[in-house]
Symmetry: none
DNA sequence: CATGAATGAGTCTTCATTCAT
DNA sequence: TATGAATGAAGACTCATTCAT
């Protein structure tokens, strides 16, 4: 009766396929991944994929939405631990970079695959990214309201700039497979520059 | 004399194909572009492509190298107009964003296609990007040497952060096709934050 | 008592599937019909189909045999109402054309699907069609014996010719979905021509 | 310079594929024929098929149109040899049955495949068949105008009846692979019945 | 150098059939 | 008997690349 783990077969497979797809996409890239590879990785038959997903694109979309939700929820939770805008900036930076290094597969896919998506994919990507970026926009606005951040900072630009700064570090780690610059140091430098850059005085 | 136009026929076609490829890649994406489409756009026969390029990947590499060289040269020229590190930061920001909006096709390809490149492509991309990023690293180091920028700024992180901040704006314009936030304003905001963020005092 | 309705559950389902299959085949054609569609139409599970039929071909065969038996029985009953060969020719014509227009679904399948049957299907089709055609051959022979039809009429040819003449009208109705030429008029014209054509003098 | 035979490569292949398709369709049926089988039979690569035909359906349509045109032209030529409606009826019967036995492959396809065609195929089939059937309708009308055939014969019904009568014989030969009833005898019986059936007096 | 017809390997997707429950 | 999730074989079609002219 402890049916907490009573996920149906279906949910199991759905998750298994998404997980397998993430792995395969990260390794080979979307266009070079075969559906049959994903099936093999998920230990299901090729046809089974199509019981859970409309087509190959749909798998990518699902991977994206699943991971993006986790990302947003985790970030919200972390940001909830502080009331200080300055502290929140540091948390955002660390959390984002940390996520990238801890979930290399997703980072790889997010950095690489989602950006070359076809037109209709863009819609999915855009909206979820917007949600994520706005978590940071709120911090900036909050800082402005509290009078710690300069009024003339445009949040629309600032959120993209800060996110871009972090993300480029992630891209560096992902693409070069380098381990130079620790998460801690990178997060500190970037948030320090930003905070000093936007603070009143 | 008149040697300006003394490019051989071959060079003509080579360029024509690269130009056509840039256009097609920008519109459809690398994997959804057909070699025959590029050939048509370049007004050559399909087979002719293979007299100038080893394969489809090779076309993308050539497009990349051609555009990247132009990008680097233009940036160098612009940066040469000033001696002041602070001014140079502003120039870099404006020049990069301006390039993105003025060469939409290339921006589209750079933002999107190059990042989903296969393993061997990464090498090409990495090296050229490094050259470009280092143009900015020099500025930071120069600023530190002149004592205007803080010593504890890590140039390896700073160059990526600044470039990433700019590039994310470009990605926004490319992906969302939005025209919000002018080049001037975006460049000013981002360089202002950065400059204030890294300056001594 | 009340044994009329004493069909077992099984027989119910068997019939339900055949009926559903007829409907689906008529609408989509055999090769474009999915077993799952038939199951849905019959309101049974996909797997249930295979408790009653060996495979998809077997369903078509069953549909065919079921309908063909009905067709033959009905025709026999109608022909039994007369002793006159000439009258029987008219009855056959009217009854056949009437059946086609009243059982459009079956007509569609009979006209179209059964003729593209695979080798082994042909056997089933051939034998049952032979039974049906022979109902007409009897009429002709009877007419010859009674001296009203010419002796030199080859019944093997005549039965096919007459049936073909009628059937082509049916095909026209089915394929063109036209309503031109009423059943009555068509039956009259075709039987008139045939009767005059085969009568002594 | 005797370039009569100077058909281009293309025309050669186009014809070769059609011929091969006719053979394969006749043997296996449309749905059981693989494009690769047709390619093999035509001695071209699979992909080559798609240089000449949009898809598998398109091959069937082309086969149909090619053969149907030949059929109509041949029939016209034969009918042109006589001025007598009665004689023309006999010619039509003989020519049609003869065609069926001489071009078994086409007969097989025409009898079987074309009738199970999908909706859009029906259009093609209907129009060409109409042309063919009308060749016979003209004969009947001509007979009526000359006063040899009864005025009250409906040509719309008569043409279908006569064609259907002949075609059913063809179907018999095709489906049963029987050789009973010669072309001559069948043609004679069927046209005799019809002529006697529709003649004035 | 240039052409473009021909190639054929490669992959997504469908769907009849099975089988554990 | 009944279910329907799972299977996996099969095939139409695409498109990068070649090569005879």
């Amino acid at each position: 009766m402890k049916n907490n783990t009573n996920t149906t077969r279906s949910e199991d497979k759905h998750q298994r396929i998404i997980k397998a797809a993430l792995k395969v996409f990260a390794k080979k890239g979307f266009y070079n991944s075969k559906v049959s590879e994903i099936a093999k990785e998920a230990e299901v038959a090729d046809g089974t994929i199509y019981l859970y997903f409309k087509n190959k694109d749909d798998i990518l979309i699902s991977v994206f939405e699943t991971e993006m939700k986790t990302m947003i929820n985790n970030m919200k939770k972390e940001l909830g631990t502080s009331q200080d805008p300055i502290e929140k900036v540091r948390i955002f930076a660390f959390q984002h970079l940390n996520m990238i290094t801890e979930n290399q597969e997703w980072a790889e896919v997010a950095q690489v695959e989602l950006r070359q998506s076809t037109k209709f994919m863009r819609e999915y990507v855009k909206d979820h990214y917007a949600d994520y970026l706005n978590l940071f926009a709120y911090i900036v606005r909050e800082g402005q309201e509290k009078g710690v951040f300069k009024e003339d900072i445009n949040t629309g630009i600032a959120k993209r700039a800060f996110f871009g700064a972090l993300d480029e570090m992630g891209r560096y780690w992902v693409l070069s497979r380098s381990k130079r610059y620790s998460v801690e140091e990178s997060a500190k430098q970037i948030s320090d520059i930003f905070i000093k850059g936007v603070m009143n005085q």
